[in-house]
């Protein structure tokens, strides 16, 4: 692994405790080493990025972190505690939330209900006891029958406000643009009150304006209670605009890490994206 260990401003050099730590994590599918010996450490209040060409192991690594993909070896630590054997559905109680590579909203639930699904997961971490405001009996019956939307719980209302989804509460996902659907996904994850937010290609398929919008939203969320974000993206411009620190992956390994601009200029990273012949030609 060729990682420049001398870069200035590496989060590892700070004295803060790591939210997430990966030690020699590997995921092998038969003979294919999708992730091979990744070690990294994420600190609160920062936005991290993982870049790399298709098949470099980015999404598999997110799967491993969220325990949806079985590890071949290695250790996963959250707040210094090993969670390698913890079930995926328990991670939300630790404070891990994620979005997926493709938009995954429940089509028969409204925007508000989709986000409420995230807030439902907060039980066990104090904030989950927030109840929806009490309405009168008629409004409750209307909400129950589906004739009118129930008022959102405080966590949902906050997530809707943070992601600029006011006015979309009663919409169904199929009625929304792709960018707005992505916002709903992020709002759902935010409603889980996470300490670590994993975003798998949140701007895939978006135009430049939409990408800038999501980038601004993620930067805005950085100020929220030490939230740590790990962003997987192909879009290098987006990563440079958004992230504090970037890891570059290829063939399951981290080949470079550091400040986004430096990583993008790293010859190994350019070779991984563009190929050796291009580099020799250049």
């Amino acid at each position: 692994m060729t990682v420049d260990q001398t870069q200035v401003g590496r989060p590892e050099e700070s004295s803060g405790a790591a939210v997430l730590e990966l030690r020699d994590v590997a995921v092998h599918f038969g003979g294919v080493k999708a992730v091979d010996g990744v070690t990294l450490r994420l600190e609160p209040g920062l936005i991290y990025g993982i870049i790399g060409p298709n098949g470099s192991g980015k999404t598999t690594l997110i799967g491993a972190i969220t325990r949806l993909t079985r590890l071949t070896r290695g250790d996963l630590l959250f707040d210094g505690s090993d969670y390698t054997a913890v079930r995926p559905d328990r991670l939300v109680n630790l404070g891990v939330a994620r979005t997926f590579q493709t938009v995954r909203l429940l089509p028969d639930l409204t925007v508000q209900q989709n986000i409420q699904l995230g807030a439902d997961a907060r039980t066990g971490r104090g904030a989950g006891k927030e109840a929806a405001p009490h309405g009168d009996l008629l409004s409750k019956l209307k909400g129950f029958s589906g004739l009118a939307a129930s008022p959102p719980s405080p966590a949902v209302a906050r997530a809707i406000e943070r992601t600029g989804l006011e006015g979309f509460e009663a919409y169904y996902p199929t009625e929304l643009s792709y960018g707005t659907q992505r916002r709903v996904e992020i709002a759902r994850a935010m409603a889980m009150n996470p300490r670590l937010l994993l975003l798998d290609e949140p701007t895939a398929g978006m135009n430049q304006a939409e990408r800038a919008e999501i980038s601004a939203l993620l930067r805005d969320m950085r100020s929220e209670g030490g939230l740590c974000q790990l962003l997987v993206e192909h879009d290098v411009q987006m990563m440079i605009d958004t992230c504090d620190y970037v890891f570059a992956m290829n063939t399951g390994k981290i080949i470079a890490e550091g400040e986004p601009r430096e990583v993008v200029q790293n010859p190994l990273v350019q070779e991984a994206y563009l190929g050796r012949k291009w580099r020799e030609h250049a």
Binding site: P53, N54, T66, L68, R87, P88, D89, R90, L91, V92, N93, A97, F100, R104, L106, D108, L109, Q113, Q116, L117, G118, D120, A121, T123, F144, G146, T163, G164, L165, E166, G167, F168, A170, Y171, S177, T180, R183, M192, A204, Q208, A209, E210, A212, E213, S215, A216, H234, D235, V236, Q237, I240, R261, V264, Q265, Q270, Y273, L274, W278, R279, A282
Partner: protein
């Protein structure tokens, strides 16, 4: 009213048992579990209640309660064995379970009455009891479609990875689906034997699977309302089609086929679509989320690699991706 009620009492009873039977197949479907085990539980519940009344002289409600408990436990055990299966494999395993119950009933000797079944099951079961039990069950199913449980059931059905990331124990929910299906099937079977006073292997055969499936396909598979619609239609339709004589079965089949093709989400799905259409029409258009100005393409040199990156010059117009910015967008 009373004349109509008493002249149609058998159909009313069949509607109630049909509704609970349909729910025993529909509830697991709402959990994403393609299981017909509710039909097998119907058979077990019917025989269990009948045997408890005949041999133990149990009151009807106690016999029904015990039968429901037995079928719920069997549902749990079945779930533990086959819950890992999915789709058609799971469906076939549960159909096999249903058929095995029929085989056991046929070969059970005097205990199950063999091929002739059990007769003379006289109990203190009344129509108010039947209405009450059905309403309680329906109320619980309605509750399960709303609130936190309703949302979680949606997630378990539509996307198990999303469900897990939202803190839902998918395996537990799938097991609950088997237990509830068993209990509902057992309730339908035991209520039916109480009002019919007889049960035989032919009453719990493959035709019952077809009937339950037909009810929820035509009525709608994703809500209790669909089960109610299906139960009413397919209990009352045969008697309404009596005028066509020997063509009744053919016409019945055509109605089912047309409904399946034209109404893929069932009759209830049409109402859902209409409701959403009305909601869309009434809704004020929401303002689009705030869009930001596109970021300055000051990093164009970085994107073009070391050959041009050093100069910091870019020939691309502002905001337009350069043909050499190969790192932009999907690689």
């Amino acid at each position: 009213m009373s004349t109509w009620y008493f002249s149609n009492l058998v159909l009313i009873q069949a509607t109630l048992t049909g509704l609970v039977l349909a729910l025993s197949v529909q509830v697991p479907l709402r959990f994403g579990v393609f299981s017909f085990a509710g039909v097998g539980s119907y058979g077990i519940g019917a025989y269990a209640a009948a045997l408890l009344v005949i041999h133990q002289q149990m009151p009807a409600l106690a016999a029904i309660g015990l039968a429901v408990l037995i079928t719920a436990v069997i549902g749990l055990l079945l779930g533990l064995v086959i819950a890992r299966l999915a789709g058609l494999y799971l469906a076939m395993a549960t159909v096999a379970f249903d058929l095995i119950i029929g085989v056991i009933a046929t070969n059970g000797g005097t205990f199950t009455g063999s091929s002739t079944g059990l007769y003379g099951i006289l109990s203190d079961f009344t129509m108010p009891m039947m209405f009450t039990l059905t309403l309680i069950v329906l109320g619980l199913v309605v509750l399960s479609e709303h609130g936190k449980i309703g949302r979680r059931v949606h997630a378990v059905r539509d996307d198990i990875q999303l469900a897990a990331s939202a803190g839902i124990n998918v395996r537990r929910y799938r097991l609950v689906a088997f237990v509830v299906s068993g209990a509902l099937g057992g309730l339908a079977g035991s209520m039916n034997v109480m009002v019919r006073s007889t049960v035989g292997p032919l009453d719990i055969g493959f035709n019952l699977i077809v009937l339950a499936l037909t009810m929820i396909i035509v009525g709608g598979a994703m809500s209790w309302k669909g089960a109610v619609i299906g139960a009413i239609i397919f209990t009352w339709l045969p008697s309404l089609l009596e005028f066509v004589g020997k063509w009744q079965t053919l016409l019945y089949g055509i109605i089912v086929a047309v409904a399946a093709v034209l109404l893929p989400r069932g009759i209830h799905g049409v109402f859902v679509d209409l409701t959403r259409w009305v909601q869309r029409r009434r809704r004020k258009p929401a303002a689009p989320p705030p869009a930001e100005v596109a970021p300055e393409p000051d990093l164009e040199p970085l994107m073009t690699g070391p050959a041009t990156g050093a100069s910091g010059a870019s020939s691309s117009p502002q905001g337009t991706p350069s043909s050499t910015s190969l790192l932009r967008g999907k690689a």
